[in-house]
Amino acid sequence: MNAPDRQEKFVVPEGIKKVAFKPDTKVANAGSFTSQREDHTVGNLIRMQLHRDRNVVFAGYRIPHPLEYQMVVKVQTNGKKTPIQAVQHSLQDLGDEVNDIRAKFQEQLSQFGGGPGGGMGGPPLPPY
């Protein structure tokens, strides 16, 4: 009865910003990022990547309520980087990793002959 529309899970409504940042008032070099319409898919990934950063002292994510579609990442660094920089570097690293995965997969695929029956042939289509 009170359940929100399923589409709210991934459509960001007008006027609401995708990412908000709040520096932590009590702890130095810490802050929380609230991402709208994101879930464990990105949350766990960002958290894992943040842990691999030497300058990050604390990194964690949570989803405050399953029916409110937002994710909060809390980061604390040791001062050599700001939390914003740490998250930015992590996201850039993730992008590079994922690019590499794609390239290697394409390579493997071409060795395999593009899959049985080829890909979906025909003229170039608009993005999904």
Binding site: D53, T82, Q88, E97, P126
Partner: protein, 402 residues
């Protein structure tokens, strides 16, 4: 700009991590020489070398008979700083360590192996494939007549779950307020009547998915459905629209019963409802490893080889009999037996089942609308765009320290 600066940072950081005057200095110096190199066993890379027991805990899940050990795979970069080992992320060592191998690709099923990625990445790719790749599925069902025993809503539910063989890229998303048009809707019709034939047999006792007809010109009752096509969809979908499988049983009827309905299909994602998920399922498992902690001899070797035929190969005879471990991938079904045997008194010091934490055997079973390799490519690009979206959102904030 920002990226090149970042790479310089990584290179400088690496040099600094090596020489540290710590108890494990000798090991660290050796490690620094092979800095950012791959661990010999192919586990995740660190610059430096951990003592064997920690290396085991870091790279392997030990599958004990009653519980699994060392299951965590998130490690902080500074976790072993006191040992002089730096576990921080380095793009170059990732590139060196990462590998993909397609092992099987038959029709709609693809199996491949990914080495060198973290669990979080593999899981995110799996989640994206299941819930964020769009397909077309029946959403609205306008029932003109249903005198079968299957209730309207049950029938509509079953119709929604039928996978359709149509490229979702040809269509646009339709929001609730928009009216259906040839760009965002596919219309299918089902009109079946069960009759008794003169020779006594029944016609149309079973309604199959092949009885669904595509209507390229749109709805046959535009006033009720407010669906008006400006042009035929034949040019848009040259191959026609049909279900992936012809023989999906939708309903069963008896003579005199009629089902007449019109289905409107729209584009959606698995997040909204599982009928829009492009995969029957997709999953991964960790690469298993069967390890002989000690070489068994004689009777124990024979007993073990008998318990695990194929996986363990017996060599030699009598008291000098020994075993070697074969290809683990071919003997999936024996792995749980290995786990059980590793708990038994007479075998526990000989055999152990482990899983390699960063080696994933990924399987993608597509329902037919997408090819599995395109699905994986799409998942990868969705992941990148998610990272980019968050990055963009962050640009709004100043880079100052505080």
């Amino acid at each position: 700009m920002a990226r090149t600066k970042h790479k310089a940072r990584v290179a400088g950081g690496e040099g600094g991590a090596g020489p540290t005057a710590q108890p494990g200095a000798a090991g660290a110096a050796q490690g620094a020489a092979a800095a950012a190199g791959q661990a010999a066993d192919g586990g995740p890379s660190t610059s430096g070398r951990l003592p064997d027991n920690l290396e085991l805990a870091r790279t392997r899940v030990v599958c004990g008979p009653d519980m699994n050990l060392h299951t965590t795979s998130t490690i902080a970069a500074t976790q072993w700083a006191s040992l002089g080992v730096d576990a921080s992320f380095d793009l170059d060592s990732f590139r060196r360590g990462f590998n993909i191998d397609i092992t099987r690709y038959e029709g709609d099923d693809m199996e491949f192996e990914m080495k060198g990625v973290s669990c979080a990445l593999a899981n995110s790719l799996r989640r994206i494939m299941i819930s964020e790749a769009p397909t077309m599925a029946i959403e609205h069902v306008f029932i003109v007549n249903n005198t079968s025993v299957i209730q309207d809503e049950v029938l509509a539910h079953r119709l929604g779950l039928i996978p359709l063989k149509v490229d979702p890229r040809l269509f646009q998303y339709k929001s609730k307020e928009e009216s259906p048009s040839e760009h965002n809707t596919i219309v299918l019709k089902l009109k079946v009547e069960c009759r008794r034939l003169p020779n006594g047999s029944m016609e149309n006792e079973c309604v199959y998915s092949r009885d669904l007809q595509w209507l390229p010109l749109g709805s046959e009752m535009p006033d009720e459905t407010s669906c008006r096509f400006a042009s035929s969809q034949e040019a848009l979908v040259p191959g026609g629209v049909r279900p992936v499988h012809d023989d999906i049983l939708i309903a069963k009827m008896r003579p005199g019963q009629v089902i007449e309905l019109e289905c409107h299909c729209i584009k959606g994602v698995g997040d909204e409802h599982a009928k829009w998920s492009p995969v029957a399922t997709t999953w991964y498992r960790l690469m298993p490893e069967v390890v002989l902690l000690q070489q068994p001899h004689g009777d124990v070797a024979r007993a073990l080889a008998e318990q695990l035929p194929g996986l363990l190969a017996l060599q030699g005879t009598g008291d000098a009999a020994t075993v070697t471990v074969g290809d683990v991938r071919k003997h999936d079904k024996l792995l749980e037996k290995v786990r059980r045997l590793s708990g038994e008194e007479q075998y526990k010091q000989y055999i152990q089942l482990r899983k390699i934490k960063d080696h994933f055997i990924f399987t993608i079973e597509s329902t037919g609308a997408w090819r599995p390799h395109e699905l994986f490519n799409y998942a990868v690009s969705v992941m990148m765009s998610k990272c980019d979206k968050v990055l963009e959102g962050l640009q709004a904030f100043p880079q100052r320290s505080f």
